[in-house]
């Protein structure tokens, strides 16, 4: 069994290096057939840049997603805490008969906005 596995492993390694050789040989052939003229890239480079752009997009998207979710959660937490705080302040106001200055126009607008 052990020998069979080793043999299989060798086959995979050989296939891997053969594939590498074919790819490099093809790239070399294309580069020699299409030397980089002014402004024109050879197709292999364009292909590599295309996959680089795709993976860059995927990594940026992976970075963006959790931040966007976390931002919504934090905003909800802020609104909830603000609401609780305003409620307690009103209760304190009643208990102490303390007259607080009314909300300014700006504060009213902003409160509406946060609602």
């Amino acid at each position: 069994m052990e020998a069979e596995v080793d043999k299989l492993e060798l086959m995979f390694q050989k296939a891997d290096s053969d594939l590498d050789y074919i790819q490099h040989r093809l790239e070399y052939e294309i580069k020699t057939n299409h030397p980089d003229t002014s402004g024109e890239k050879n197709p292999v480079i364009v292909l590599k840049e295309l996959s680089a752009v795709k993976s860059r997009y995927q990594s940026l998207y992976a970075r963006f997603k959790p931040i966007s979710i976390e931002q919504k959660e934090t905003k909800n937490r802020i609104c909830a805490t603000l609401k609780k705080t305003m409620t307690v302040i009103k209760e304190l106001q009643k208990q102490t008969d303390l007259e607080l200055p009314p909300l300014t126009e700006e504060e009213k607008t902003v409160t509406e906005q946060l609602k």
Binding site: K54, F64, Q71, K75, L82, E106, E107, T111, Q113, L114
Partner: protein, 32 residues
């Protein structure tokens, strides 16, 4: 389509950023 995806995501992020900036300003006014 990759370009369209990026464009729509860019607009979405810009909008979210604008909203968060306004939200921050609003909350700071109330906290004064």
């Amino acid at each position: 389509t990759l370009k369209d995806d990026i464009n729509s995501l860019l607009d979405k992020t810009r909008l979210e950023n604008q909203e968060s900036t306004d939200f921050l300003k609003a909350t700071k006014i109330l906290m004064k």
